[in-house]
């Protein structure tokens, strides 16, 4: 089954899940609503897309999109050597979507990473804790409203006082 027919079949089967289908530099991108993501990915997996190459997220704050966050899944079909990108849109107010750890074990750590850096919550994930940052870290560093430059965050860290007077932070 070619990719085109598979996608049109999926669209027929889950019409309420699809927001849009786009193509850029030869890559098909399926834009989906987040609550239907598990169903569509299960269907894709049984259709041959057996390898979850990558799972990550994008903060659409200034880029624009259907919702604030997009969780993107890069799937690979070993048989036909085709790849497809699936994007699930998650709102800012309720950043939750179902975990795909039951389909691919590799999603375990990758979803933890997305949770750590974006604060997106994956429901029914076995152990959703921070993976890169310390457990008591506050904020989600890869969000666009988290500053790249500036001294605010650094000054918020507790300082080990060794008897040296702390300099006042620059205004």
């Amino acid at each position: 089954m070619s990719q085109e027919t598979l996608i049109s079949q999926l669209k027929e089967k889950f019409p309420e899940a699809f927001l849009d289908i786009t193509e850029f530099v030869g890559e098909k991108i399926l834009h989906l609503k987040s609550q239907n993501i598990l169903l569509v990915l299960t269907a894709l997996k049984s259709a041959g897309y057996n390898f979850l190459a990558d799972l990550t997220a994008i903060d659409n704050l200034t880029l624009g999109g259907f919702e604030r966050f997009a969780v993107s899944y890069h799937l690979l079909c070993h048989e036909t050597a085709e790849r497809v990108t699936v994007k699930a849109y998650v709102s800012e107010e309720k950043p939750t979507l179902p975990s795909v750890e039951s389909l691919w074990k590799t999603a375990d750590w990758q979803e933890r990473e997305v949770f750590d850096l974006y604060g997106i919550i994956f429901e029914e994930h076995p152990d959703l804790t921070r993976i890169m940052n310390p457990d008591d870290y506050e904020g989600y560093p890869l969000r666009k409203d988290y500053p790249r430059l500036g001294r605010k965050e650094r000054d918020d860290f507790p300082v080990v006082d060794r008897g040296i007077q702390k300099k006042k932070p620059l205004e």
Binding site: F24, F51, L52, A53, T56, S72, A81, T85, P141
Partner: protein, 401 residues
């Protein structure tokens, strides 16, 4: 396995901290192991000690500046990272680089693969007590790093590629230096295999240790030599053309079926031999031509010679590098998978049409390869932990980014 006593000796459960500073972690990894006697019953890896916010940094640097950051990810084969990132950026912008650029990139990637695999096999050997194989591999790795230094100017932080080309062409007579090192590599590969392949201790320590089944390999997202050692016939160089002119070369893909530490070692050694073949072919067939795009297109930097000696070159240089000018990619996104020595190294670039990427994601093979560790070590002895860890080739810089 022969035990001294038939009756198991009952012991209390013991919790052991393996790392973050341990000679066989080769980086900062921490594993909390629960032991019963010497058998590991549960292992919880903890990562993130080297997390440096590379992906966040990518949103603030322009496309060419970020190449210096990719060096720091997999610091054993930085050229593969450079090439992977350049390929992703070129796919996003729809640029087609010259044939000579692609061939030089292939040559550099394969030399990196040889260096990476030899170091990995050597480290695995030295963790298991075989010092000689490590020394053979490490000495040759220095020779390969010398080759990198000749071409790029540095051993480790190469930053050799640019979007749309290379920083500079390889110097005259480079092929002679490469061929000498390749001849040495042939010998060293033979010597390492003579030392290890039929060594009783080596076989006892590596065979049937840390077996990854085919299904597990797919489920855990394992790629590269580790997946091929588990019988998955998948190599991005062969299966997903076009990929930087790899389709012009004649080589085989090494596959093993058992998926244990020994097979992963065998696959890596065979890949070294195949990489030698590719390197020789790329030198033989090296096309002539430029290694950078026409500066008029506004993507690639003009040669340094022109920048310093002519006003036009200087203007073109500023056109590309100034904050309010620079390259303007289309709005969109591209994911490019490449076959790095560790597995599928992918770069996912989202662009909003400005000179800095909107989002740069690295798909680090080490993260996926390491995530299966706790499953592999369960039920094995504590002394197998360095063997399994060594065969995964976890690079902490890439793991944590």
């Amino acid at each position: 396995m022969n035990r001294v006593t038939e009756q198991p000796i009952e012991t209390d459960k013991m919790v052991l901290n393996f790392g973050p500073q341990h000679p066989s972690t080769h980086g900062t990894l921490r594993i909390i192991m629960e032991l019963e006697g010497e058998t590991v019953t549960k292992a919880t890896p903890e990562i993130g000690f080297l997390h440096s916010g590379f992906e966040k940094l990518g949103e603030d640097l322009d496309f060419n500046q970020y190449i210096t950051i990719t060096d720091r990810m997999n610091y054993l084969s930085p050229l593969c990272n450079n090439v992977a990132y350049a390929l992703a950026a070129e796919k996003l912008m729809g640029l087609k680089v010259s044939k000579r650029t692609e061939y030089i990139r292939v040559l550099m990637c394969e030399l990196s693969r040889i260096a990476d695999h030899l170091l990995n096999v050597g480290m695995l050997a030295v963790d298991l007590g075989a010092m000689t194989a490590f020394l053979y591999g490490f000495r040759l790795r220095e020779d390969i790093y010398d080759l990198f230094e000749i071409a790029t100017g540095t051993r480790l932080t190469t930053s050799y590629t640019l979007v749309g080309g290379l920083m500079r062409d390889i110097p005259d007579g480079y092929d002679k230096a490469v061929i000498k090192v390749l001849d040495d590599t042939d010998e060293v590969a033979n010597e390492i295999e003579t030392l290890l392949n039929k060594n009783r201790i080596w076989q006892d320590r590596t065979k049937d240790i840390g077996i990854i089944s085919k299904e597990d390999a797919i489920s855990y997202g394992i790629s590269g030599p580790m997946a091929r050692a588990s019988g998955i016939d998948w190599d991005i160089r062969v299966n997903e053309p076009p990929y930087s002119s790899y389709e012009d070369f004649d080589y085989d893909v090494a596959i093993a079926l058992n998926g244990d530490v020994f097979d992963r070692y065998l696959v890596r050694m065979e890949e070294v031999r195949q990489s030698i073949k590719i390197c020789r072919q790329s030198l033989d067939k090296m096309p002539t031509g430029d290694v950078s795009l026409d500066p008029d297109l506004g993507f690639s930097l003009p040669p340094k010679d022109e920048v310093y000696n002519s006003i036009e070159g200087l203007i073109y240089h500023f056109e590309v590098t100034m904050p309010n000018r620079g390259m303007t990619p289309p709005v969109g996104e591209a994911y490019v998978p490449t076959e790095s020595p560790n597995g599928e190294l992918g770069y996912y670039i989202v662009s909003d049409g400005t000179r800095t990427p909107y989002r740069v994601r690295t798909r680090p093979p080490s993260l996926m390869n390491y995530s299966i560790f706790s499953k592999l070590i369960e039920g094995h002895m504590l002394s197998d932990a360095p063997a399994i860890l060594g065969s995964l080739n976890v690079i902490a810089g890439e793991l944590d980014r």
